[in-house]
């Protein structure tokens, strides 16, 4: 049965992203909170910017390397907990 859970990132205009060597610092304007992330998070945030995608949808745009769907789901969980990604069942 296909998982219909969808994820969405804030609009690009709501995030200020600055590269700091291999890490990326993100200022989330709506919350005023600063986060520090590494790849693949910035790519996910850009791909999901202002649009809802399921995990299937994400895998249609990206080929998962060095990991699998479970790893991706775990990253999404963390991003939801941090307030950077919205989730809808």
């Amino acid at each position: 049965m296909m998982d219909a859970t969808r994820y969405r990132a804030p609009q690009a205009s709501d995030l200020s992203m600055v590269d700091l060597d291999e890490l990326v610092a993100i200022f989330h304007r709506a919350s005023g909170i600063t986060h520090l992330v590494a790849s693949p998070v910035p790519e996910l945030l850009i791909a999901l910017s202002g649009r809802w995608l399921t995990l299937d949808g994400i895998e249609q745009e990206f080929e998962l390397v060095d990991g699998n769907r479970a790893g991706l789901a775990s990253i999404m969980d963390e991003l939801v907990a941090a307030g950077l990604i919205e989730r809808r069942a």
Binding site: D66, G67, G71
Partner: protein
């Protein structure tokens, strides 16, 4: 022209970008929780009266609750307010407050840990919880 229902014809795959998932269990996001400005109070010695002045003289039971003076099994309050540094050390190491035996220390510390905003000493306790620089 290929027939859209002809499934023998291989579809032209879009070239997908790689998404490096990385080691399982690795942290993906670190949210910055900076030290509260009040944590700068580590420069000052902040103190927590036990119990707050409004209940001065009351006893502290082993669970940290304020109870009437003389209650059996409860402890008389410390003579002086507790120093922030001593509380921080005792909470971090599990040791006693200076000059106070184990059970009494635990009771006082439980009182401190139950402090709510608005009670005297809450700001000091809150500043003790913030990460040190």
């Amino acid at each position: 022209m290929s027939d859209p229902t002809d499934h023998d014809q291989p579809a032209q795959p879009q070239r997908r970008r790689a998404l490096r998932i990385g080691a399982a269990g690795a942290v993906a996001v670190v949210s910055i929780r900076p030290a509260m400005a009040q944590a700068y109070g580590s420069v000052l010695t902040c103190e927590i009266p036990v119990p707050d002045p409004g209940q001065a003289g009351s006893y502290i039971d082993p669970s940290g609750k304020v109870v009437p003076a003389g209650t059996r099994g409860a402890y008389a309050p410390p003579g002086r307010p507790l120093k922030g540094e001593d509380i921080r050390r005792a909470l971090a190491s599990g040791g006693n407050l200076p000059g106070v035996d184990y059970e009494r220390s635990r009771a006082y510390l439980k009182y401190v840990q139950n402090l709510r905003s608005g009670t005297t000493g809450f700001t000091c306790f809150a500043s003790l919880q913030m990460p040190r620089r």
